[in-house]
Every structure is written in structure tokens, then in C-alpha cells.
């Protein structure tokens, strides 16, 4: 199994989008691709416009973070980066406990990602390849949980957390998100296609227990999809705002909560706020630049449902 080279994993993901027609999946996918016509100049112009629109706010975060507030709010506004980036970053770092916030975010997003990968792969495998009573109903139940917004349960969740002594602690934002319906669905779709029954049978004939099969047959096969799910989960956990904002406080925030509080102070210095925004976004942008192809593939693979 090639674990380190992400480019080799991309083709493996191709068959996943068509879960309902296991045999035909690959063929249909190719047919669709064959339909493509060449894009004309208008296509490129439109894409450049949309692309600039997508990038500009991020670029402007950098610009605003590298001037002092007065210059940022001047007319005409600055369009090129200035020279105060470092001092603004330092000010943001000192004002909002960003150092602690970043460490907290790494812990939270890291724990959630590892747990999600493990639990979702197990559940996805069970739903994809194992036979058991109530499988269909339970899978529907998993999907149905996607439609319940977190808003509906935050009030008692807050009370429960303070009751068990997790109020304001990282546990309160980690545990509710340890495993998600999207991940279960995503892994199931992938394993339906990627894991042949013959492999499982062979392991069974060799006398392997079910967990042994998971460990030495399922996990290696699932690895490319796990990588993509891991990145998607990390992005989501890193960016999560609503529940962390309610559950955590100023002394022990994640990076997003710290950012929200930085801007909620009475007279926030805009360029320092932007410096904080930059700090919170850079790690993810880096992930995107390196693994953009895999993330795009993952979203497209998870998208099409039967």
C-alpha cells in the first residue's frame, strides 16, 4: 500500500461516486467523462472571474493584516501588502491568547479526526459488507441524523457538560463530534466498491476473527478514503464555530472562538483582527494547497447518492 504518495490514491477514489451500480460504476463514470466538450475562451474568462472572487477576500485578509488600522480604513483602501504584518501578528498573538487557542484547536481537531476515522471506518464497513438484522433501517437512521441541526440540542448539552464537570473544557467540544453520519456514509460508499467479498472470504477461511479482518483487510483497503475523510473532518473541526463559541470561554478557547472574541471586544483594531484571521486560516490553506486534488475528489465522491 502506498501511503505516503497522495497522487496515487486519487484514481482509487474514482469508482466510489456510483454506489448503487457496483458493476457498472467504472464504465458509467468514463462515459460521462467522454461527453465533455472543450471549453471555449468564455469559459476561461468566467472561471478567472469566479476564481478571483474566491481568492480576493483571502488576499485582502493578508493586505489588511499588514497595514495599521488607519491605513486599512483609508479611501482608497490599500490593495498591496504593507510592512506591518509581523507586528500585527504579534499583537494578535498577545491579545487573544492565540498561542493557547491554536494548541487547543490542534488538540480538538486532531482528536475528532482520529476518532472519526476509526469509528466511521468500522461502521462504514459494517454497513457496506456485513449482513445483520436492521441494517437498512439503521443506515437510514444514520442519514436522518444529518438533518438535525446542532441548534436543537445546545441548551441541554451546555447543562449536561457543566453537570459532568466538562464546562469550558475541551472535552465538551470533542466528545459530541467524535463520530459523524457523513463519515459513516462516506466510508460505506467507498468500501462497497473498493472491498471485494473475496478478500473477506479468504480471510475467513484462514480462520481470522472479525476484528482481525478489519485490522488486516479492511483498513489497508480503506486507507485512501480515510485520508480524504481525515482532511475533510479536520477542516470541519478546525472551523467549527457555533457550539465551541457557546461551550468554551475566553480563558480556554479554540482558534475560532478566540477570533470571535477578538472582534467582539469593544473597539477592536481591525488590522489586528485580520492578523488573527490570517493565523487561523493559514494552516488550512496550506493543507489545501498540498492536498487540494484529494479534497476535491473526496467531496465529489461523497456527493452523488443513489
Amino acid at each position: 500500500m502506498t501511503t505516503t504518495s497522495p497522487t496515487t490514491t486519487a484514481p482509487d477514489l474514482a469508482p466510489a461516486p456510483l454506489p448503487t451500480a457496483p458493476g457498472k460504476g467504472r464504465g458509467r463514470f468514463k462515459m460521462g467523462a467522454g461527453q465533455q466538450l472543450r471549453g471555449g475562451p468564455f469559459t476561461y474568462v468566467a472561471l478567472v472571474v469566479v476564481g478571483l472572487g474566491s481568492i480576493f477576500p483571502l488576499y485582502w485578509t493578508l493586505v489588511a493584516a499588514s497595514h495599521d488600522q488607519q491605513r486599512v480604513l483609508d479611501t482608497p483602501p490599500p490593495l498591496l501588502p504593507g510592512g506591518r504584518l509581523w507586528s500585527n501578528l504579534q499583537a494578535a498573538w498577545d491579545q487573544a491568547h492565540l498561542g493557547k487557542a491554536i494548541v487547543n484547536s490542534v488538540i480538538v481537531a486532531g482528536c475528532i479526526t482520529v476518532a472519526t476515522l476509526f469509528f466511521c471506518t468500522l461502521a462504514g464497513y459494517a454497513f457496506a459488507k456485513m449482513r445483520f438484522r436492521g441494517r437498512g433501517v439503521l443506515m437510514t437512521a444514520v442519514i436522518a441524523t444529518l438533518t438535525i441541526p446542532p441548534q436543537l440540542s445546545v441548551v441541554p448539552l451546555f447543562m449536561m457538560m457543566s453537570d459532568i464537570g466538562w464546562g469550558g473544557k475541551l472535552e465538551s467540544v470533542i466528545f459530541p463530534t467524535l463520530v459523524g453520519a457523513f463519515g459513516v456514509f462516506f466510508m460505506r460508499q467507498y468500501l462497497i466498491e473498493a472491498l471485494p467479498y473475496e478478500l473477506i472470504e479468504a480471510a475467513k477461511v484462514d480462520g481470522a476473527s472479525n476484528f482481525r479482518i478489519v485490522w488486516s483487510v479492511v483498513l489497508p483497503v480503506a486507507r485512501p478514503a480515510m485520508m480524504v475523510l481525515g482532511m475533510l473532518t479536520f477542516v470541519q473541526a478546525w472551523n467549527d464555530f457555533f457550539w465551541p463559541f457557546l461551550a468554551l470561554n475566553q480563558e480556554n478557547p479554540t482558534i475560532q472562538v478566540a477570533l470571535g472574541q477578538l472582534s467582539a471586544s469593544y473597539t477592536p483594531d481591525q488590522s489586528i483582527v485580520m492578523a488573527g484571521a490570517l493565523i487561523s486560516t493559514l494552516p488550512l490553506l496550506l493543507v489545501f494547497v498540498i492536498f487540494g486534488k484529494q479534497i476535491v475528489g473526496g467531496i465529489m465522491a461523497g456527493a452523488v447518492k443513489g
Binding site: P17, G32, G34, Q35, R38, G39, T43, Y44, V50, G51, S54, I55, P57, L58, L73, D74, T75, F119, A123, A126, F127, M130, F132, L138, A141, T145, T147, Q151, L152, V154, V155, P156, L157, M159, M160, F175, P176, V179, E201, N210, V235, N239, F241, F242, Q256, G260, S263, A264, P268, Q270, M274, A277, L285, F288, K293, I295, V296, I299, M300, V304
Partner: protein, 330 residues
């Protein structure tokens, strides 16, 4: 699946056989084997249901209980039965209805343009392109940006004095717009943040669905003399209908959750009441304000249940519209 049976059967000894000692061991092993086979799938899916039960379903029901009680942030362990008072309180509050309207309006003016643009964008991305992965990644970068960062940047862009948007618009002869304080302009500003963050993501979902449309449909259409636009309307759109419905559902649920954008558009105390005139106060902001700023968790829980009712209503409308569309299509 049938092929597993012989393998498993091989371990099942005949029930009343001779040689009890070795057979007993066989039964034990076989039982263990069967148990492993029967229990494993449940064990694998159990974590999901345990976590969801503890932190999703149980709190959801508990919300209903709190909604009928008086619970204050300052004394979380005390509760007092008040019946339907909390519901009466929020239903008589004009701010609640403002929040309902705002959530609905912002939901519509952010979802409709977003999905239309995403559809067009997916169509463009479906052409054979140079550097296609590059374009896909670029339009997805807003998805990597957190709601906090996006809201804070756009807060600067939409600023009344010194905002970059007003500066751009003055070239077209527009006067200074006070985006955040206007009834409609503030809603538009919030919608722009949402549209910016989610259009690329939805475009990729549509693109994936477009690539799954079989070619023969297009071939048949072009033999019948259908133009490209007609092909898009008569072949692509109908094939994408389930996906479009899916994205509408997801966006509807998403608009019910709008929180970071309105909270941070103007920031400070204005954010937690959704603007000086509550002009962009959403239901989530209203819930947050009642429960976390004012400290009354009972009414906040009642708001949560009101949201659940609204979601069910929307689901019902969605279902009826979907049925109607299918009927008229057939």
C-alpha cells in the same frame, strides 16, 4: 454472501454426536465464532449510535423538558415547572417573529443565487479544461475558510466608512451605503458571505452528478437536433434533479443554523442582537441571546423547539413540492 455459509458451517459440529470431549470444545469455538459473526456488526456501528444518543438524541428530547421549565444560566441545577409560559413568551415577542422572517429571507436570498451560480459553474467545469484540478481547487478555497474569518473579512469589505465595496461602487456613481444598518443591505451582506463560502462546494457536487449522466442521452438529444442550451435544460437538469433536491435540503438546514455571519458582521453587542433594529437577527442569534446573553435557558429551549417545528414544516413543503414536480414531469 452465500459463500460464507460453508466456511462458517464447517465449524458447526453435529448436535448429538459422539466423542463429547473434543465435540464440546468444538461447540464452544463454534459458539464463539457465531457470536463474533452476529455481534461484530453491531459493535462496529455502536459508537455512532452511542455518541448520537448521548449528545444528539437525548439532548434533543431534554430540550423539550427544559422548554417547559424555568432554568437560569446562573443556577443551572435548579428548575421550576412553568408549563407553556416559555412558548407563550417567545410567540408574543415580536423579535422572535422578526428572527423567523429574517432567517427565511436570508435563507432564500442566499440559497437561490448560490445554487443557480453553482449549477452554471459546474456546467463550465464539466467542459474539457486545461488545469481542471486547479480551477476546482480555487473555487473550493472559500470552503476552507472558517465562518469567523469569512465574516470578519466581509465585515471590513461592507464597512460604511472606509469599506472596500463602497469605494468600488463610488466609481459607478453610487453614494456611501451603510450596509450593516440597512434593513435589506444587511441581509444582502450576510447572504454574500454565505454565497461566497458555499458556491464552490455546491458546484463540485453538481459537477460530480453531471459526470454521471450517461452520454447516450446527449447523443440522442443531438441527433434530434437539440441545441446545447436545450440539452442543458432537457437532459442535464432533469438528470440532476435528485442532487438539486439534496442541495436544497442541505442549504435549508444550513440557513436555519446561520450564526457566525450575523454575529460578526458588525461584531460587539450589535452582533448578539442581530443589529440595532434586529434587521439581521436570525433564529440562532435569538436563541443565543436569550440563553447565553440574557441567561434564560427555558425560552432558549423553546426557540430550539420552534426551529424543529419550522424544519418539519419546510420538509413537508419540500415533500409536497417534490411530489407535485414529479407528477407534472410524468
Amino acid at each position: 454472501m452465500a459463500t460464507t455459509t460453508p466456511a462458517r458451517g464447517a465449524y458447526t459440529p453435529p448436535p448429538g454426536g459422539t466423542g463429547a470431549a473434543s465435540n464440546g470444545r468444538g461447540t464452544w469455538r463454534s459458539r464463539l465464532w457465531r457470536f463474533d459473526d452476529k455481534a461484530s456488526p453491531y459493535a462496529y456501528i455502536a459508537p455512532f449510535f452511542l455518541i448520537f444518543g448521548a449528545f444528539g438524541l437525548y439532548p434533543l428530547l431534554y430540550t423539550g423538558w427544559i422548554a417547559l421549565h424555568r432554568v437560569e444560566m446562573t443556577s443551572l441545577d435548579q428548575s421550576q415547572w412553568v408549563g407553556w409560559d416559555n412558548f407563550a413568551k417567545i410567540l408574543q415577542d415580536s423579535e422572535f417573529w422578526t428572527a423567523v422572517t429574517n432567517t427565511f429571507v436570508i435563507g432564500v436570498i442566499s440559497t437561490v443565487p448560490q445554487l443557480l451560480v453553482a449549477l452554471g459553474l459546474a456546467h463550465l467545469l464539466n467542459y474539457k479544461l486545461r488545469a481542471s484540478t486547479f480551477w476546482r481547487t480555487v473555487i473550493l478555497t472559500p470552503y476552507a475558510t472558517s465562518v469567523a474569518t469569512a465574516a470578519l473579512v466581509f465585515a471590513l469589505v461592507f464597512r460604511a466608512d472606509g469599506g472596500i465595496l463602497n469605494w468600488v461602487l463610488h466609481f459607478f456613481g453610487a453614494g456611501n451605503t451603510d450596509w450593516g444598518n440597512g434593513e435589506w443591505t444587511s441581509k444582502i451582506a450576510i447572504s454574500v458571505i454565505i454565497i461566497w463560502r458555499w458556491t464552490g462546494y455546491n458546484a463540485l457536487i453538481y459537477l460530480a452528478a453531471m459526470q454521471a449522466v450517461p452520454t447516450d442521452l446527449y447523443e440522442a438529444a443531438s441527433i434530434d437536433g437539440a441545441s446545447r442550451w436545450q440539452q442543458f435544460r432537457k437532459v442535464t437538469i432533469p438528470s440532476l434533479r435528485p442532487t438539486i433536491l439534496f442541495t436544497i435540503v442541505i442549504s435549508t438546514i444550513g440557513s436555519m443554523q446561520l450564526f457566525g455571519e450575523p454575529l460578526l458582521l458588525q461584531g460587539g453587542t450589535l452582533g448578539s442582537i442581530g443589529g440595532s433594529e434586529h434587521q439581521y437577527e436570525t433564529l440562532s442569534i435569538y436563541l443565543f441571546n436569550y440563553g447565553w446573553k440574557l441567561g434564560h435557558l427555558g425560552p432558549a429551549a423553546a426557540v430550539a423547539w420552534a426551529m424543529l417545528v419550522l424544519l418539519l414544516l419546510i420538509a413537508l413543503i419540500n415533500w409536497i413540492v417534490g411530489r407535485f414536480m414529479r407528477k407534472s414531469a410524468a
